[in-house]
């Protein structure tokens, strides 16, 4: 069965790489008699000039392959080839095309000039991955000790997506997320102390304790939330991208080139707001990247039970933007794709939709018994742990030494412990803080014609009746 599937789909070497395995080890897509999404090597070029214009390097859909996992397993992480397959090149296409047979060959250890990261970048990426993982593990501990409460959604396993995208952004760029936002906050630069305090509900948190786990905001770092309603962050990110365009075109600020990234999950990709924003983003050529963290599960609802066409990347071309699928457990592949998408947005060519195949190692939230996911599936993804494979990549290619990585591990442990101590020692918000920050305008009576808050005008009385 496996052999015939491989030959039919034309080149997939290892079904270990296929995330569509059902519990019985057979490809779900094959069961449903539709062609395997893993393989789309011959991408259907579609009439894209209308949408993309003549200057775009994309002349049709780009698709990224999870390819290049060598036969027999992905543990060693060897043969990390370029994950990006750009479209059937038209004129002016500068994207490279890797054909299926190339992807299939096991790749030798990368030569120095083919390395995808420098040593410094590698260390930065590793540190961010470790920060995300260690922080989330500490959150679980703190939750079970009663220091954290309410809804806490952990990001373990998905770190490659956050690090891969956000580490390429500038401070002025914007990120919106869903309730699974701790690691997006950390990657964007919000100090671990502030995030941990916010989770403990202390006044030193990034939102003064008024937001909580699901509502991380940081104006300084361009983190526009933390939204409990999935799909809510997408229009907000679209609006932030719109601001960049507005600043350039109306306010004539030529330096405005901030890019916006909206992170959301597979369940969100069925929500109406998502499609509304795909439409508007292409229509107005907004500098936004829609990143789907497809971890296959929306609480207990499997992606395949809820979605008519599970290939989310396909929804991009339907709205006139490139749709890309990437292995979200591999930080380097994500980074490569992110580089292209961010560059595309920054130069004004418009939005991109990127579907990252990833997995959350823990349940939906700390209250989720997580009974519906099969142990085989969990084991499959645990074997593709992004941190383990990146570590192996760094060591195998002699970019770093074990000692350096251990030093980073220790440093991160210290950072997270310090964050917990800081949060523990921080004060709870004082009672009067309950009524603060409802309005930016202190008493909510608006701004007078002289431009000052009305309530600060000693002559401001409430009402004109004579008693």
């Amino acid at each position: 069965m496996a052999v015939s599937l491989a030959s039919r789909v034309g080149g997939l070497v290892s079904l270990d790489a296929c995330s569509l395995l059902g519990n019985n080890g057979v490809c779900k897509q094959a069961e449903q008699k539709s062609h395997c999404s893993v393989v789309v090597a011959g991408v259907a070029a579609f009439q894209s000039r209308f949408f993309f214009g003549d200057n775009s390097p994309y002349t049709s859909t780009s698709v990224v392959w999870r390819g290049a996992m060598t036969a027999g397993g992905s543990k060693a992480g060897g043969g990390r080839g370029r994950g990006v397959v750009a479209a059937a090149g038209g004129e002016g296409s500068t994207a490279t095309m890797a054909s299926a047979p190339e992807l299939v060959k096991p790749k030798p250890k990368a030569k120095p000039q083919e390395l995808l990261v420098t040593k410094e970048e590698g260390l930065e990426i590793y540190e961010d991955l470790m920060l995300g993982r260690t922080f989330e593990d500490m959150c679980a501990q703190m939750y079970y000790r009663g220091k954290m409460f309410g809804f806490v959604h952990l990001y373990n396993g998905q770190e490659a997506v956050s690090t891969g995208f956000i580490k390429l952004l500038k401070k002025e760029d914007f990120v919106t997320s869903t309730y699974r936002d701790h690691v997006h906050a950390l990657s964007k630069g919000v100090p671990a102390r502030q995030v941990m305090s916010e989770l403990f509900g202390k006044s030193t948190g990034c939102c003064r304790g008024q937001g909580g786990s699901m509502h991380m905001f940081s104006k300084e770092h361009g983190l526009l939330g933390g939204f409990a309603f999935i799909g809510e962050g997408i229009p907000v990110a679209t609006g932030a991208a719109f601001t960049t365009k507005y600043k350039r075109e109306v306010l004539k600020d030529e330096n405005a080139d901030a890019v916006s990234i909206a992170f959301f999950g597979d369940g969100t990709a069925n929500n109406g707001q998502f499609f509304e924003c795909l439409n508007m983003a292409t229509l107005w050529k907004l500098p936004i990247i829609f990143v789907v963290e497809n971890n296959l599960w929306a609480i207990g609802m499997s992606h395949y039970r809820s979605t008519s066409d599970p290939e989310i990347w396909k929804k991009g071309p339907a709205f006139g933007m490139p749709g890309i699928h990437v292995d979200g457990m591999d930080v380097l592949k994500v980074r490569e794709v992110a580089k292209e998408a961010i560059a595309r947005a920054r130069r004004g060519d418009g939005p991109t939709l990127i579907e990252c195949e990833t997995y959350r190692f823990r349940g939906h939230s700390l209250a989720d018994p997580d009974e519906l996911r099969s142990p085989a599936e969990k084991a499959h993804y645990a074997a593709r742990d992004p941190i383990t494979s990146f570590k192996a990549y760094l060591l195998e290619n002699n970019l770093v030494t074990e000692a350096e990585l251990n030093a980073i591990d220790k440093k991160i442990d210290d950072v997270v412990e310090d964050a917990v101590e800081f949060a523990d020692a921080s004060p709870l918000p004082i009672r009067s803080q309950l009524l603060e920050n409802v309005f930016a305008d202190p008493k909510g009576f608006g701004i007078g014609p002289d431009g000052k808050y009305r309530c600060e005008d000693p002559g401001f009385t409430a009402g004109t009746a004579q008693v």
Partner: protein
């Protein structure tokens, strides 16, 4: 009065000249503006008041932009944004696809970054598709972010019943939005309110829900030169006593203020002196003015077009009972729309919303001066 006639004639002359030199846009615009100003030193309709407010605020601050369905090329579904596309261009007056949730959220995201969107809903009924963004990402964000991210956005559009538009186009949302901390909710009545409150709303650093009324758009009101000044704004959270009286207080907002004033004229013939309060602001609600008035008159009738349960009148009643209980000489009367989705048939629609006769009857009841007929028809 004479000036008004002359003004109107000048306006017509202006329009003729506009037609003749319609090729010369600048001259034409200047003539129209001049004739408008001359014409409106005494009178202005609510639509023009809103249009001029948006126009002036957009001229004064380049961060202000308008976004909504049909606001640009169609000149506005109710012509409130007429001429703005021609004046400010498509980058600042954006026609959107039919995507309320999407473009409302987009406006909120832009407001997070310091732009000042004016989001137009064709009616506030359609805003229900975007209410998640109005409440969850606009109203609550300043609080959730600990005061670091404020949202200087205005949501505006017609609210409440129109004429014969049936159930899904006739709901009044004042009570819904009025309940939410983090929103300011304004309800203009006449041209002066429309201008002053909208300008205040656009300048305000917080999300403002601006509930207009379609029937009022065409109504003309006298306006003073002070109102026409580009820096004119009205305070948010302050009600206006439209008519002073000593026997009974009627609180009303939007179109119902007109009904209350007409009822007051009728009742004055019977010797009942009615004080009419134009609320202007549902949130913050001007409880001080209302209570001061009730302490003076000892009787209260609340008037609104929306549904009775948990409505604006219920809140005013509670406020008065809490603060001025011992001043009341009669129970508070609430006049509201009928507790049904709006029917289509014209005679049923008339029964489903308050009419001037209902106001008069309720005032008489509250003043204990009703005939048996009034008692029987207590709605």
């Amino acid at each position: 009065m004479m000036l008004g006639v002359v003004g109107r004639q000048a306006g017509e002359v202006g329009r003729l000249i506009f037609k003749r030199c319609s090729n010369d846009n600048a001259a034409a615009m200047a003539w129209v503006a001049a004739s408008k100003r001359f014409m409106s030193t005494t009178e202005m309709n609510v639509r023009d008041a809103l249009n001029s407010a948006i126009d002036e605020e957009m001229s004064a601050d380049s961060k202000v932009f308008v976004i909504g369905e049909e606001v640009g090329e169609y000149q506005g579904a109710y012509k409130v944004t007429k001429g703005l596309l021609q004046k400010f261009g498509p980058d600042r007056v954006l026609d959107t696809p039919i995507t309320e949730a999407g473009f409302t959220g987009l406006g909120v995201g832009a407001a997070f970054q310091g732009l000042k969107p004016i989001v137009e809903f064709m009616t506030f009924n359609f805003a229900m598709q975007a209410i998640d963004h109005i409440i969850n990402s606009a109203a609550k964000t300043n609080y959730m972010s600990g005061g670091t991210i404020n949202v200087p956005i205005v949501f505006r559009g017609p609210n409440g019943a129109a004429a014969g538009v049936a159930a899904q186009h006739s709901q009044c949302f004042a009570a819904w939005y009025g309940q939410v901390p983090g929103l300011k909710v304004l309800v203009p009545y006449n041209a002066e309110d429309a201008r002053g409150l909208l300008k205040a709303a656009i300048r305000d650093p917080d999300p403002v829900v601006f509930l207009e009324n379609e029937i009022m758009y065409g109504e003309t009101f006298p306006v003073s030169p002070e109102v026409l000044d580009p820096s004119f704004t009205l305070p948010i959270g302050q009600a206006k006593v439209e008519r002073e009286g000593k026997d009974i207080t009627i609180t009303a907002f939007s179109k119902m203020v007109g009904y209350a004033l007409k009822a007051a004229d009728e009742l004055a013939k019977e010797g009942i002196s009615v004080e009419v309060i134009n609320l202007r602001s549902i949130r913050p609600l001007d409880r001080a003015t209302i209570n001061a008035s009730v302490r003076k008159t000892s009787r209260l009738v609340t008037l609104e077009e929306g549904w009775p349960q948990h409505g604006v009148g219920a809140e005013i009643c509670a406020s008065v009972v809490e603060e001025s209980f011992y001043y009341l000489d009669a129970p508070v009367e609430r006049i509201c729309g009928a507790d049904v989705p709006m029917p289509y048939a014209a005679n049923l629609e008339r029964l489903a919303v308050p009419q001037i006769e209902d106001v008069i009857r309720a005032v008489r009841r509250a003043c204990h001066r009703s005939s048996a007929e009034d008692q029987r028809e207590a709605a």
